[in-house]
């Protein structure tokens, strides 16, 4: 009984921190999308990039940042629809193709990632190397 109370309290606490600073980016709620994108990397939250970026990225999966990540036509459409529906709103000049090149991303990580951490992660696109809650859409644990 005690255990239950503690875990409920922890859950409430987590939910509160997550919403208090507004740093929840959402997760991929669609199973197909989460599994397909998540096979190689964190299934990045759709809200990180605008629709125009996702369209280009998912429209070119056979050359996905240097890898062949091709999916069959039906699955590609499904994944694209999900990302378009949940993409970031607003107008963007020169919309980014890489989350790691977004201005806020660069600013947030500039003085935070040691060389050792960077080496361990292998690449800046490996969110989970440092952000343990990334899969739950929570990135503010640094």
């Amino acid at each position: 009984m005690k255990k239950v109370t503690v875990s409920v309290l922890m859950l409430v606490a987590t939910a509160m921190t997550a919403s208090a600073d507004g740093k929840r980016y959402g997760t991929i709620r669609d199973k197909v999308t989460r599994e397909e994108c998540g096979a190689c990397h964190l299934a990045y939250p759709a809200g990180f990039l605008p629709a125009v970026s996702w369209k280009k990225i998912i429209g070119n999966l056979p050359d996905h940042f240097g890898d062949d990540a091709s999916l069959d036509e039906e699955t590609t459409k499904h994944v694209l629809n999900y990302y378009l529906k949940h993409s970031r709103h607003g107008k963007f000049r020169n919309p980014a193709m890489r989350i790691t090149e977004l201005r806020w991303f660069v600013r947030e990580h500039r003085h935070e990632v040691s060389r050792r951490a960077r080496k361990r992660a292998g690449t800046m696109s490996n969110c989970q190397a440092c952000h343990r809650g990334a899969a739950r859409g929570y990135f503010d644990d640094d």
Binding site: C40, G66, A69, T123
Partner: protein, 133 residues
């Protein structure tokens, strides 16, 4: 009326059990590849394919070992940093048992590493090698 339900229930049971028997999917995949290749598979050739540095693919992935590590018994890592379960069947028992998954990953990775699709013989050799480890 009631009797006729028994075979139905049994076939239902068999269908539920099938995914658990990873080998049956794998056997089917190998049989299909065998029919297309028309030649016996070789674990040795599969090993050579796995270890070799290839030309013609994408520059960042010249070899299977780039991501899968040099030993099929070890875990690998995608270029984006995610762990890849070992390729050897002895380590990852459900490998090469889902035809759709197998087709998808051979298509992608052969294009990335070799710059072309793999032949049925290459695929069969590869799986045979991974079953031998």
């Amino acid at each position: 009326m009631r009797k006729s339900l028994i075979p139905l229930a049994l076939s239902g049971l068999a269908m539920t059990l099938t995914p658990a028997l990873a080998g049956s999917g794998r056997t089917g995949i190998l049989e299909q590849l065998q029919a297309e290749a028309g030649q016996a598979f070789s674990a040795e050739r599969g090993k050579a394919l796995f270890m070799a540095r290839h030309k013609g693919g994408k520059p960042k992935t010249p070899s299977c070992t780039t991501c899968h590590s040099k030993s099929p018994l070890n875990a690998g890592r995608t270029r984006a940093g995610k762990r890849i379960a070992p390729m050897a069947v002895s380590k990852t028992s459900d490998r090469y048992s889902d035809p759709k998954k197998v087709a998808k990953w051979f298509r992608r990775n052969c294009r990335s590493v070799l710059g072309r699709e793999c032949t049925p013989l290459e695929k069969g050799d590869f799986i045979t090698f991974m079953m031998s480890r």
